[in-house]
Amino acid sequence: MFETSLTWNDTIFLLQGAGTTLTITFWAVLGGTILGMLFGLIRATSPWWVNAPIGFVLDILRSVPLLIQFVLANSFKSILKLQVSAFTVGCVVLALYTAAYCAEIVRGGILAVPPTTRRAARSLGMTYTQDLTNIVFPMALRVALPSWIGLTLGVMKDTALVLWIGIVELLRASQVIVTRIQEPLFVLSIAGLIYFLMSFPIARLGARLEKRWREND
């Protein structure tokens, strides 16, 4: 017979952690996507002397392990005596990290639009901006969406690293419970299940959009 010491309160605690995970993911993906679209657009359309410095900074954000970025940012916060919570630091760092990846996705999507198609748009008298908004962005979106969904799911799992700067999210919450009731397999299975339940709808949504668009292409 299966028995567990996991109490109702523990379950609530886990769900609260899951809520934190979702909240951080939300802010990181929102901020990261907005910044990423901006940087991606600049990267795809600017001359090299604008492009190179931005590309360099984004490369750093992409290549330094996220854990190090969290710890460094949190230490800087203390050194500079900034009055912000660890939660904010976590969101900002993760948003920048997301932005660095998102910028490359957006850039790739924009560059995937054939120059001849853009030329056709301009030949109809559309301005540069009209071409971007009516032709380039919608076409780039279709190219970029699968990677963007992948990025979002990745970021959701990367939020687990914020436990290193003292935030109790889903993984940290399950660790706390494991330490007390000593049932790691069971508790981690539940945590894994919760991660899956949070990711699955996003993946499904992406697949549905993709399918709808593919029917037209």
Partner: protein
């Protein structure tokens, strides 16, 4: 009227147009023939300012295309161009493809734009395909859609850049029929083409391009029927 005066165009050190002069009157159909890389297509790009020029002058309705301060977006509304690759907007239906520019560029209401688009699409024989996405069309149909899309701006001139070159042989006819119909309606057209027989049928004049220069220009009976220069004779022998 479209007027080219001693137009020169380089891509880096490569001279593509070496002083081309040409005049196309309202209502005229001019076909431009010549080998690949002779500068025919580049000339079309220069006429509506998609490519800058390095020397000479191009006047469209008296406006200097390449002068500083010329509003190219405005000018391009007067000049329709259809490319070898039909360049459909894949995320829009056939109807939306044609409606887009009238709405965004001319500021037409949705109803007006739809009316124009339906009329032009029916005109080129795509009245049954309004709600379909371009990917569901054949190459010939997509090319006719591109023609309707350009016509929807009610341009004064239509430029055609080898519009049948990328099509399967059995689809060429339907596009040529559309071009023929336009010429009979009195549209002013410059037609860069490899379809020599077709050029002879529909053109008022034919220009033979060779190495960035017009070698012969005149009535089709002359240039195609009775060419004078050795280059023209050589070219026609190779394609006919």
């Amino acid at each position: 009227m479209i007027e080219l005066k001693d137009v020169q165009k380089n891509f880096g050190s490569l001279e593509v147009l070496k002083g081309v002069s040409l005049m196309v009157q309202k209502g005229e159909v001019l076909s431009v023939i010549g080998g690949s890389g002779s500068g025919k297509s580049t000339m079309l790009m220069c006429i509506n300012g998609l490519e800058p020029i390095q020397g000479g002058q191009i006047l469209v309705n008296g406006t200097d295309v390449h002068a500083r301060g010329t509003d190219l977006n405005k000018l391009r509304q007067r000049i329709g161009i259809v490319f070898q690759q039909w360049n459909a907007f894949p995320h829009l239906t056939v109807l939306e493809n044609v409606m887009l520019a009238p709405r965004k560029v001319l500021g037409k209401s949705k109803r007006e734009a739809e009316e124009i688009a339906v009329k032009q699409l029916t005109h080129v024989g795509l009245g049954e395909k309004l709600k379909v996405y371009p990917s569901k069309l054949s190459g010939g149909q997509q090319q006719r859609m591109a023609i309707a899309r350009a016509l929807a701006m009610s341009p004064d001139y239509m430029l055609f850049d080898e519009v049948t070159s990328a099509l399967d042989p059995q689809l060429v006819g339907e596009v040529l029929d559309t071009l023929k119909m336009l010429s009979e309606e009195g549209m002013t057209m410059i037609l860069v083409t490899h379809e020599i027989r077709f050029a002879r049928d529909v053109s008022d004049r034919v220009a033979f391009f060779h190495q960035g220069l017009i070698h012969e220009i005149g009535k089709p009976e002359q240039v195609i029927g009775n060419p004078q220069k050795p280059e023209t004779i050589e070219f026609l022998k190779s394609v006919l």
